[in-house]
Amino acid sequence: MRVLSVLLFGIMTVTVNAQPDARAIMEKVDEQQRLVAHQTLTRSRLSSCNFARQQTGIVCTEEPRVKVLESYSRQRGEQLKDSQSISIVLEPANERGIGMLTYSYDEAEKDTESWLYLSALGKVKRMAAGSGDDQEPVSFFGSEFTTEDMENGKTDEYSYQVLQSGPFKDRNVWVIEAKPLPVRIPKTRYSKLLLWIDQERLLPLRMQAYDRRGNLYKRMQFDRIEQHNKLWLARQVSLFNMQNQRLSTLHTDNIVQGVPVSSEFLTQRTLIDFAFRESVLAELRPHFE
């Protein structure tokens, strides 16, 4: 029966390969993710812990470390592929007040720019971020997520192939393989990605990333999928690092989308002018969903 199932799935895959254009699918997925990040304020919990597999499933083997962040982001440029964002740490207490402003650009030659507000010194400091060409991913606020896991707008740096199509957890999905093109290879720690894309909602339900030796490295699970402003988003994303047995979960507790603010909000001023920052945020927070 095993051979039969392999054969049947093989036939199915051949059929599917002839149907959808994997790149077109991923561009739609990416476009939705960019729109979700455009003019959006979120308050999120980022929790990390060691995990183990038990009969009931995956469990944290220690008390998770929790960070609470408030972030505003917007996309820029003709195709909204450049991004500007500001994030402030609200918890834990010993990191409270640290803020980071980041400008990143789709253009590979243009350096990412970032400034850090050091609350202990009350000073804004420019950070060395590197250009798109040499930018290896770094940890996102000390979690298992890296900057690579959080970015979008890079669909032209991968080749895509639909591996399979069919029902997965009560949803019809495409299973798409993404392999980095030569332009991407220096910037990634992954040799390939597998994405389970919801055919109707055009967002991933699961993602697996493989290291440069082809071993399973990370696995992401997307839950609490909701629609806001006609856009689908996952309000809970869990990332399992299969190599160090740690997991991080990003819970988006509060979100408000499509709220423009003055361009001055995404400047160094917001990092140090608390009265200004709180005035702007006070107008947005009542709209939290």
């Binding site: 054969l7 308050r43 919990r45 470390r65 720019e113 060395a128 009265a275």
Partner: protein
């Protein structure tokens, strides 16, 4: 042969006939199969709250070294919140207990405690400007671990220097006004009553009288940011943070005096991919010459390089060039260079932070190196362990307690909520 074996042989034959056996090996995987053993429900925890307005810390700090002993407790409280639209306040105060075996307590004749307000300010924000009034620190200059331009905020040398000078800075009462226009910033700073750096809590009446005699300080800073570059120009009228011994012809003895001088400065930060190049150039007028009471103008230059590797190692190296005060009456100040190096990196999802700070050079020679391990055990508890080595000429660092020592080990236990 069983039925299933017959079926498999038949299907394989069909497979070869159809040419389907040349499908990619990935077909061996069924990516749609259920994966229940990997089910995960994140642990329920309280949703993110509104920002907490206060923070309380308690720490116990100890240092043991060659002739150096510190044994201190510290309780600090911070409170900040927006009062109403456009208004914000912040308070940061601490109470330190110097136990009987602490070297400062021994010098003072017994255990004592000291209450200090580090910050107490109110901020008002308008269209494109904000004003900040009250006790605060102002830190200018781009090169870490050097102070060619960072002259406005005094130091508190009763704090222990580990791998960051941040802990040594002390706020003072001032008005700070800053306006933004596109990529330009203009900042004005006025301090009607400057403070001297703190060397000991028993400074005496002469020191206090000297501090009372200081005049107001003011400064203007113009900064603009371009892609990959920040440039700032500074003009200030300031009082020195430490007094200088000068000859008093009337008493034929040496008195302490504080230089009041103009400061002109240029600060530049240039990002070149992962490298940050930092330059501070400062011109100080009317620098008091130790012992002679004459004044002369002085150039100071600091150059720093900061590099962050793809593995997030943070390296920083710099040199600060200035005129060292003469050691003996009749000598002239000599140009000298103070080199610094620092490194830092977070490990285990930032639970462990390792850092190193080294400084050496100068005339008289001074050198120190400290390695620090900072481990966060829980959301509220953390510990620090630091090993320091310092080596300096006898004449160096008389104002900084730790600088003449050799090996020392410091530990700190901190609770924060």
């Amino acid at each position: 042969m069983s039925n299933s074996a017959v079926l498999q042989a038949y299907l394989l034959r069909v497979c070869f006939l159809l040419g389907l056996c040349f499908l990619p090996p990935v077909l061996a995987e069924d990516w749609l199969s259920s994966d229940e053993e990997f089910s995960f429900s994140p642990p329920l925890s309280a949703p993110a709250r509104a920002p907490r307005a206060s923070r309380t810390r308690f720490s116990q700090f100890a240092t043991q070294g060659d002739g150096l002993q510190r044994w201190r407790s510290e309780l600090s409280f911070e409170f900040e919140r927006a009062l109403k639209l456009g208004h914000y306040i912040r308070l940061d105060m601490k109470s330190r207990r110097f136990h009987a075996s602490d070297e400062l307590a021994e010098a003072a004749g017994g255990a004592y405690h000291e209450n200090e307000v580090e910050e107490l300010w109110w901020q008002w924000s308008g269209d494109s400007c904000f004003a900040k009034v009250g006790r605060q620190g102002v830190y200018w200059g781009a090169v870490d671990n050097s102070f060619a331009l960072d002259q406005l905020t005094p130091f508190d040398y009763t704090e222990a220097l580990l791998t960051s000078f941040t802990a040594l800075r002390a706020g003072q009462d001032a008005i700070n006004l800053r306006c933004y226009q596109n990529s330009w910033q203009v900042e004005v700073f006025v301090n009607p009553r400057p403070d001297l750096s703190t060397i000991t809590h028993q400074s005496g009446e002469d020191w206090e009288a000297l501090e009372d005699s200081l005049h107001e300080e003011w400064a203007v800073r113009l900064q603009w940011a371009e892609a990959g570059r920040d440039i700032a120009l500074i003009w200030a009228r300031v009082e020195d943070n430490l007094p200088t011994p000068v000859f008093n012809a009337q008493t034929t003895d040496f008195d302490l005096a504080v230089a009041r001088y103009d400061l002109l400065g240029l600060s530049l930060v240039q990002a070149i991919e992962r490298l940050l190049v930092q330059v501070d150039v400062a011109w100080h007028s009317d620098q008091l010459q130790a012992y002679t009471s004459q004044t002369q103008h002085e150039w100071q230059v600091a150059l720093g390089l900061e590099y962050t590797t793809s593995g997030n190692h943070r390296f920083n190296a710099g040199v600060w060039h200035y005129i060292a005060p003469p050691l003996n009456p009749g000598d002239n100040g000599e140009p000298t260079a103070l080199w610094s190096f620092s490194w830092g990196k977070g490990y285990f999802n930032d639970e462990l932070d390792l850092s190193i700070l080294g400084q050496w050079g100068g005339d008289p020679r001074q050198g120190m190196m400290t390695g620090l391990a900072d481990y966060v055990w829980t959301q509220h508890w953390s510990t620090r362990l630091a090993l320091s080595y310092s080596n300096a000429d006898e004449t160096a660092g008389g104002l900084v307690n730790s600088i003449k020592r050799e090996w020392s080990l410091s530990t700190e236990l901190e609770w924060v909520y």
